[in-house]
Symmetry: C6
Subunit: 254 residues, 6 copies
């Protein structure tokens, strides 16, 4: 089976060498657990060590801020952008009726052979869902035809239509064929679901959870592969460390 | 009583030989607990060891991905498909007004003598319920007649109508007479209900729950038969193991 | 006081001989706790040992499946049906505007002198409430008159109208005068209410709760009489055992 | 200060002799904790030992059933009804637009000098609130005038309007001047509020809570005066016992 | 800084002498914790020991009942009313479109130099919010102008509009300049917010919480200053005692 | 990297010298944890020690009250206002259709080179969101154009539209380029989210949480940097002390 390595020290062995190619991965955690860094490292290592083209789709977040965050760890994305290896795309959040899938799909086709995609984040997307539209088919005389406006989540029913919107969005982006990270914010401990949209955790092929766990006075960052289709994955927590060169994964010890 | 064996080592003895024939079984668990593998094994063993025809209905999930997951355990579904022993059916999620029961019912009739069905999953179905329609009767002058559009869950009232939709869907599929697995996603621990639709757990004849339990640093996968009509079933957890050849069940020890 | 004995070994002494005649009893528990078996035993023992006519009203559940479940314990309902001692009535769930009380009331009158009724279940009824109608009165010039359509829970407001519907349904069935078991599904532990409809527990004269309790690795089935009007009842849990001849109740020991 | 004694052994001393005259008391607890018995005893002792006229307003519950419950403890209400000392009033629940306050107020005036009232129960009233109407004033040119229909809780907004309805109902009944028991059902432990209507606990002058507490295998019934305006009250639980002659209160010991 | 002393023994030292003058204080607790007594004592001591005029605004609660409660502790408000030192104002709850701020503001102006106000209570106000109206401005051509009807919380959206209503009400009453106690009911332990309106706790300058805490079999009343702007306040619980002369505060000991 | 120091003793070292310049910081905590003092100190130290111009935007709260609170710690803002180093802006809450971003943006431009902004608070803003409007674009023939009214949260759908409103508001204010503190109220412990708006915690670059923690009878104020983009931050709690000169941070010890 083709695999897409993280290149994060200590992480690939937990997945027998990497993510099954083309899988969609939910990367989730509460604010401050390192989801963005983790995703940037995934693209940077992909481009520099494995020659994989990458695309970072940020909903509103400024690409310049993202590149600044990357520089902390010595990852310079500018030369990669110039060589066409990585592209940052900013999807606006204050423009009504943006066809979000067309924006991403067009960039994907233009760039050619994109192998790694990051969507940052499903949470921001779901809050602003009423700004976006997704193409959808309707059944006329037993044959599906495209609807003029597709699915337009109305603010009146945000909670329910948005779940469907997120579900369809993840499905459509996954069909592009790249290995994709969807970043999602988790509620604090004690909630019924891993993500605030409550659906991305089961539509994605894999779920990776980042946490900050408290043990008495000690606080330890952890990573856990909660689900990964088409491969064996080691169950349980592992320790996550931020070094000067990015994230490292080690056996959990306390 | 006729019984349908799982063929999963260690599981059938817990049910005095297998599932009572024709029962509808909810297979539930949080993401990553192995529900899909469990269902694939049920169909594969059925077709190869018991000569039972099987049908796997996936709501949107690509059949090719499912077969790839099966190959990890050495289960090759392609020859079974060619012999007409197993069939994968993909129900689209972005087409409005799909008569979902007709799609499944037609395939069932065509295939003839289907004994095992998997529906994957009720959770995806419930999120996208507003895309589907179900035939329903209305009372005119004291006599039931078919309504033109049946039950069409509107997005305005997704939460309540969807429960009724899921309920009717499970009832109608169960009436086909096959032994059926309905896959359902469970919320994280602490919720009031076993499934997110909150109704499938009591409309099904049986409920099998897959879990990942934490005991200090050790994480153990478990299986529990929470309910099984028309037969005795052993209460309590059992250990679930993923081997190279699929799932095995053992007494729970810790 | 007239009492209706369960005939379940060990249970009647907890209620000074049985249920006060004509009481409405909520039998509740999570899926798999044995509510249906308990209700079938109530009707079977009633008909064979106490010469009480019984009626089993199933909302959608197939009577043949119910009789099959009963046969596990050696209870054969067919001769009782032939003698007119027990009747199974199936209320459809996919027919809009069914006057559910009329269906039950007509059968009750036809059968004559019914002493034990089982309604299986309030949970299925509440999910499908928008299919049913109940007769109701309106005040015109200070005098109550029957409304054309009665109470028709609309799907728009299912949650609130359904509570009222369930409340009225239980009241009207209770007025028939038989000793009635209403089966209800309980949410998992930790909920604010015993039943998912949240009203049946206080409209019924009695509440009997079936549970599966975990004590370390041991799992014990229990029964508890949480409420019983017009009689003394022993407080606290008792152990419930499934034997080859049905349910037995013993003092709780652990 | 004028006080209205319970006459329940062990209870009056906790309140320095009884309830301050004219107070409205919420009597709450989960199903099966003895609220109805407690209220019947309050009326029976009032009529037989203190010569207080009483009125029992049941929302739907059949007065004959109530009197049967009372007979368990040797309280025979029939002679009291004949002498005009106690009156049972049944308010129907399936009649739309019943002016509930008028029904109660008319009976109150007719009976003359009623000193003890029981309303059984606020929970049933709140579930069926859309059947009832309450007179209310509107401001026209700065002067309040009566509105034609008063407050008619619509089923569309049951939850919010019903709170206001319950609030106004308790206020209006309290203004009649009798010492009044309002029976209310409590959710199971763990809820944010003592009652399911969430408002009666603070509109009433007093709150008395009945509970069934579990201490290991022992189950003890308790009573607690959670609030009592205009008098000192002893804080904390007391043990409640059902004897052959009704309820007794003892110091809590375990 | 000018301070307004409570005059409650043991309490002022916790706040370096008293409440900063003009602060708005939320006094909250579950039913029966003594909020009304605390507020009455605040007005009584203010008028008799510090010559501060006071105003008690009760939403519906009868002033005569309040004065009766005060007499338990020997506080006779009648002479103070006659001298114009204290005034009780009853705001009706069953009159639609009452301009509540005008009622309070007019009384405030008439009475002249009011230094202490009690609003009893925000909870009753929020339940009946749809009866009231508040003046509000709208922006026309960039200039604010008064709207004809102001903010009229509709029963359709009670929960959200009511929060805004409560927020504005507290702001406007606070602007009068007196030191004001707003009484609010707390949900039982375990809720996300201190008050049921969820907004008064952060709009007020101070929050004082009264509780009844259980320590094994002992129950202790406590007071806690959770927030007080413009002054230092001692953190943590203190014991609250009801004596014959009112409330006393002592160090918490157990 | 440019950093903006707090100047609070003990705090800057936890962030390697200060907040990355231009970051948006959520300062959250329950009522009474010192959020306002913390923000005032941030502006005061900025103006007096680092020559940073500052702007304090209060939603409704009176600037005079804020300055009075600052004086407790010896911070006199009046000379700073006169020199144009700090400006207090009060945004009204009872005026419909206020374009809140224009108010803030105009002041920002007028004042010139503002480096520190405080928004106090997002909670008050979200409660009163229906009073405000935000400019927004719509897509016409594939090109974004400004909508006449922008986003006007309607009271009908406050909860969902308000989240989007808060999200856009934080984004737009952050784009001004100053280092900004957004004050937000946290629910009591046990909630799923850190803030009551549930979105500010992940749109902001940093999250600083203030708490009052109970350890037996001892209560300790703590500060925790839960998230900080573009820099390393020390994980875990630190002790917060209020001294005569403001806040100090020390290692957590208990």
């Amino acid at each position: 089976m083709d695999r897409v390595p993280f290149g994060v020290p200590g992480l690939d062995p937990l997945l027998q060498g990497g993510i099954p190619k083309g899988n969609s991965i939910l990367v989730c955690g509460t604010p401050g657990t390192g989801k963005t860094i983790f995703a940037l490292q995934f693209l940077y290592i992909g481009a520099t060590q494995f020659n994989d083209r990458g695309m970072y789709v940020s909903i509103e977040e400024d690409p310049e801020d993202l590149k600044k965050q990357a520089l902390q760890f010595g990852w310079d994305f500018r030369p990669l952008e110039e060589k066409g290896m990585v592209r940052f795309i900013k999807v606006p959040i204050d423009t009504v009726n943006t066809d979000i899938f067309k924006m991403i799909g067009d960039a994907y086709v233009q760039m050619n052979d994109v192998r790694r995609i990051v969507i940052d984040s499903l949470s921001i997307l779901s809050i602003n869902a009423s700004m976006y539209t997704l193409p959808i088919k309707t059944m006329v005389d037993g044959k599906p035809q495209f609807m003029e406006n597709g699915l337009v989540p109305s603010p009146m029913t945000l909670s329910d239509e948005t779940k469907q919107f997120i579900y369809l969005f993840v499905s459509k982006v996954s069909e592009l064929g790249a290995t994709t990270f969807f970043i999602g914010d988790s509620p604090e401990k004690g909630s019924d679901f891993i993500t605030r949209d409550t659906v991305s955790e089961f539509v994605c092929d894999g779920v990776i959870k980042l946490e900050t766990k408290e043990f008495g006075k000690t606080i330890i960052r952890t990573i856990e592969i909660k689900k990964m289709r088409s491969t064996k994955a080691e169950v349980g927590y592992h320790t996550l460390e931020f070094t000067e060169k990015g994230i490292m994964v080690k056996p959990f010890e306390y």
